[in-house]
């Protein structure tokens, strides 16, 4: 349903009211922004010297290196999560209870626990049993444990959303279950899952910022180090820059996800969507 269904095309009086509403709404938003900006200006948050910091080559280099570290962790974790997710989805779809039950339990357990706790499990738990682990791998493995479960569910939803006739036709020409999955179902399901996978990549990219907690020098940690070195008053320009970088990278990925989603709906009549809750976590 498009929102326009909720109200009629406005007549003269309605249009007047909308104009009044627009002006009032604009004033309300502007008032909130003005109070915030005024408060910031009073504390000298807009002094040119503060923001000129961002034009310095070494600050830019620091943020670029942080972004590279963020992307490295995110891409590796995404690849590993997809491998784990594929195994979990196949396991959970299996007709053998000894495979399906444990896979289901694994998914429920790892989706029910905070990601930060999983990262701490790897970061504090592995050294406790005598395995040394770098901050990079602690972050990547923590992300994989969590996102493997989420992506497994995306895979499963993709395969389940195909019409049953596909499976039946595959069985009818004599394919076994594994073959049907590999040759018939997966190639079709991938197209339906692509939008949700890209959305999950955005979530995963955001979650790499938890590397900050264990001291992995990704974007946020790099920015924090710079602020600690330069002084607290530089927190505003640096954190704003970091937020803008995140919004630019994730915004383009979200845009890609929405485009893929529209295309999948048009061409194949449907797509798997990332749930709002998975997006928030």
């Amino acid at each position: 349903m498009t929102e326009a269904v909720l109200y009629d095309a406005a007549g003269p009086r309605g249009r007047r009211r909308i104009v009044v509403g627009s002006v009032v709404g604009l004033l309300a938003v502007a008032a909130v922004v003005a109070v915030a900006l005024g408060r910031m200006a009073a504390k000298g948050a807009f002094e040119a010297e503060l923001w000129r910091l961002l034009t310095q080559a070494n600050v830019q280099r620091l943020l670029a290196r942080g972004l590279a570290a963020t992307l490295r962790a995110a891409l590796l974790a995404m690849a590993l999560s997809m491998a784990v997710g594929a195994l979990l989805a196949v396991g959970r779809l299996s007709h053998r209870a000894w495979l399906a039950r444990p896979a289901g339990a694994w998914v429920e357990l790892f989706r029910g626990v905070p990601l930060l706790l999983l990262i701490l499990f790897v970061f504090l738990g592995l050294p406790a049993v005598g395995v040394t682990v770098s901050t990079f791998w602690a972050l990547v493995l923590g992300l994989t444990l969590y996102n493997g479960a989420v992506i497994g569910e995306i895979f499963r939803a993709g395969i389940l959303s195909l019409p049953r006739g596909q499976t039946e036709a595959a069985y009818a020409i004599g394919l076994r279950r594994g073959q049907a999955l590999r040759l018939v179902l997966l190639p079709q399901a991938v197209r339906l899952m692509l939008p949700a996978l890209v959305s999950q990549l955005v979530t995963l990219l955001k979650d790499t910022s938890l590397g900050f907690v264990i001291g992995y020098a990704e974007l946020l940690r790099s920015g924090r180090n710079a602020v600690e070195f330069l002084g607290g008053r530089y927190s505003i320009p640096i954190y704003t820059a970091i937020a803008v970088i995140y919004i630019a990278v994730n915004g383009s990925l979200s845009f890609l996800a929405r485009w893929l989603d529209r295309r999948a709906r048009r061409r194949y009549g449907g797509a798997v969507r990332q749930s709002t809750a998975d997006e928030a976590a």
Binding site: V5, L6, V29, E108, P114, V202, R224, Y239, T276
Partner: protein
């Protein structure tokens, strides 16, 4: 195991803090999110734009960055509150966007004919929304809302890195103090979270299945 039993009191404190943080932020974020959703479906363009901009910015920024702005930038502007209040603000601001999207998708899930019928008997926008669309949207929207609350519960763990002594922070402290029982202590923390998330997830799934049948 001994380290977990010895520190049950610390666990209890962390659990209560996590619960308080979750409850307070959920209520505030749901209120703000519903307001944003109403803005996003309203006929007034500036309100629609402001709501959409808020959601777009928040959903593409990590919660950790929201915490950074609240915990490190607000004190620069001479706004000093307790870490707990800071955490409530950060968690609320972040999750309001997701509550908004859940409510909005619930409104969109109500059949087109419902709104058309409401308009054809002469109801205005507010009446259509209040009397016809929202009561029906409410039913579809409960399971997704529960799921967002579950996500929020898990996300309160990030407050551990910003001075709030909730479950995860308790776990890290105990793990550092008892290096011989790190795994047992963290498993204890995980169990506490699962006590909150698994039953809620089960409830959401059940409601969702029941609504599917009702439709």
């Amino acid at each position: 195991m001994g380290a977990v039993v010895d520190n049950l009191d610390a666990y209890r404190q962390g659990f209560v803090t996590t619960l308080a943080l979750t409850a307070l932020s959920s209520v505030l974020a749901l209120a703000l999110g519903t307001l944003l959703a109403a803005m996003r479906v309203s006929p007034v363009p500036t309100l629609r734009g402001a709501g959409a901009a808020y959601v777009e910015v928040v959903r593409n920024t990590p919660l950790t960055v929201a915490f950074f702005f609240v915990v490190f930038v607000l004190p620069q502007l001479d706004i000093r509150l307790s870490f707990f209040v800071f955490a409530v603000i950060a968690v609320t601001v972040y999750h309001a966007a997701f509550f908004c999207e859940a409510v909005r998708s619930g409104i969109n899930a109500v059949g087109v004919g419902q709104a058309e019928a409401a308009r054809s008997i002469g109801l205005t926008f507010t009446q259509t929304l209040r009397l016809v669309v929202l009561p029906q949207a409410f039913r579809t929207v409960v399971p997704p809302l529960i799921n967002v609350v579950i996500a929020l519960t898990k996300n309160t763990s990030i407050a551990a890195a910003f001075g709030v002594l909730e479950l995860t922070a308790v776990g890290t402290r105990l793990a550092n103090a008892n290096s011989d029982a790190v795994i047992a202590i963290l498993v204890g923390v995980a169990v506490c979270y699962l006590l909150l998330t698994l039953p809620s997830g089960w409830l959401a799934g059940r409601l969702e299945r029941r609504l599917l049948v009702a439709r």
